[in-house]
Symmetry: C2
Subunit: 296 residues, 2 copies
Amino acid sequence: MSEVKPLLEGVRRDVEAALDGVLPPVAGDPTRLHEAMRYSALDGGKRVRPALCLLAAEALGGARARALPAACAVELIHVYSLVHDDLPAMDDDDLRRGRPTSHKAFGEATAILVGDGLQALAFEALARAYGDDPALGLDLVRLLAEAAGAGGMVGGQALDMSGQRLPREEAALEGLHRMKTGALLRASVLLGARTAGARPGDARWTALDAYARAVGLCFQVMDDVLDCTASTEALGKTAGKDAEQDKLTYVALLGLDGARAKAERLLSEAVDALADLGPPAEPLRALARFIVARSS
Amino acid sequence: MSEVKPLLEGVRRDVEAALDGVLPPVAGDPTRLHEAMRYSALDGGKRVRPALCLLAAEALGGARARALPAACAVELIHVYSLVHDDLPAMDDDDLRRGRPTSHKAFGEATAILVGDGLQALAFEALARAYGDDPALGLDLVRLLAEAAGAGGMVGGQALDMSGQRLPREEAALEGLHRMKTGALLRASVLLGARTAGARPGDARWTALDAYARAVGLCFQVMDDVLDCTASTEALGKTAGKDAEQDKLTYVALLGLDGARAKAERLLSEAVDALADLGPPAEPLRALARFIVARSS
């Protein structure tokens, strides 16, 4: 664990500074919207997606500075989805990253607009940052939009809202999570890889894609485990909601030990997928281990 | 008026077919989300923004087929904004284009996701359609994202939600509308122009930009007039809401006649801006006249 902490700390610092530069200034009009966008996007979160993006680029010899706008774009999509998921009509949550959720702090209308504005900003940031290489920029837009939309994250969230009707079997649960959280986690890795010059079909792309799929699912399995075992304080969001809502989770399906064993298997898969990438991929391996060992 | 009707009918047909191809199929999972996205995006609306986009491209000698994906992307952003604006936490409206609003028909959670999914789809559609000319594609993404985000439509909507605090003067109202509706109407024209090869700084770009700004404001002035004078049935959305909510509008500021006179002045400005573009710009002129003369 100790090896990954300074790594994540460095990512957090870089991403925080980059997001600060991309987000609209507090001073500008409409002030309240800008303030709310910054409230939700800054000073919080583990920044797992930006870390995946930056470390994937670096695993292929790419420069962090080149991947940073892509990492920010992915995080902006993630943050917007949290803001909307927390709304009363959705998961109705009061607490996020240890602070009041956006609609609790700024009201529902502003929270809806915060999410909408952050999504547009993600694509604007890509278009601005990669104007010197439009083929790269447009590929990033496409990868991110596909992962964020009805065929990915938004579709998964829609499936989840109708979750009671999912068949209680692992394939259904996995299908849901491949969309709801997996698509954006996978995109994080692939956007990073693309900024380092990889393309679909490359051996390196295929290796990172396999890593990303395993890590994405692993992340969700551990989320289910933590919802059962961690405190609200440690999570920074309301714990125990899954059981309370009788949601289909990996813990409900496999039991706590079964879910932990599955996470370990997925971790091995993720690490194995990187075998040919050698030492530059070591941070990605450490990040996968961190995801399984994390306590919040 | 008669000249513009077949023109708009042709645009509607082309846009409807193109949107049908871009939207996710009803059959796919999650069915309900797909159905709701199609419900909101198809079979409705005047398609003013796609018309501006296609006719701007054609005014410069561009091909309609080349501009069509951009026209769809603009309309998807417009439709998503309507779905979110109608939500109970926002304008709380039950009726849109003569039918129940998305949240009335599908529930609030689905309506939030419909908007989110349509926004992602707009950018995905651009990235897919313009892969053969990434410099064009990335320019379109940037123009659209800037117009849609906190510096444009979303920012204007946020200003409008805090509308009671606007100073009761024309400059404040104009600033609001330049963001809330003007930015996307302007983008509609500029995206079309860009697909026809125009670029910022070109005389043709500058002419179309001046046209777009005048038409955008004109459109809003007439919206305010119609909210006072038209029936809910004719509008397909709830009429008389502005006065009821004591909103700052052009009618409140200038009176009904004053607002109509302003619309006429803006129409002249728009038509004058196109002077150098000659006969190919005639449909754009007709469209501007239609916007002032429309009754819904």
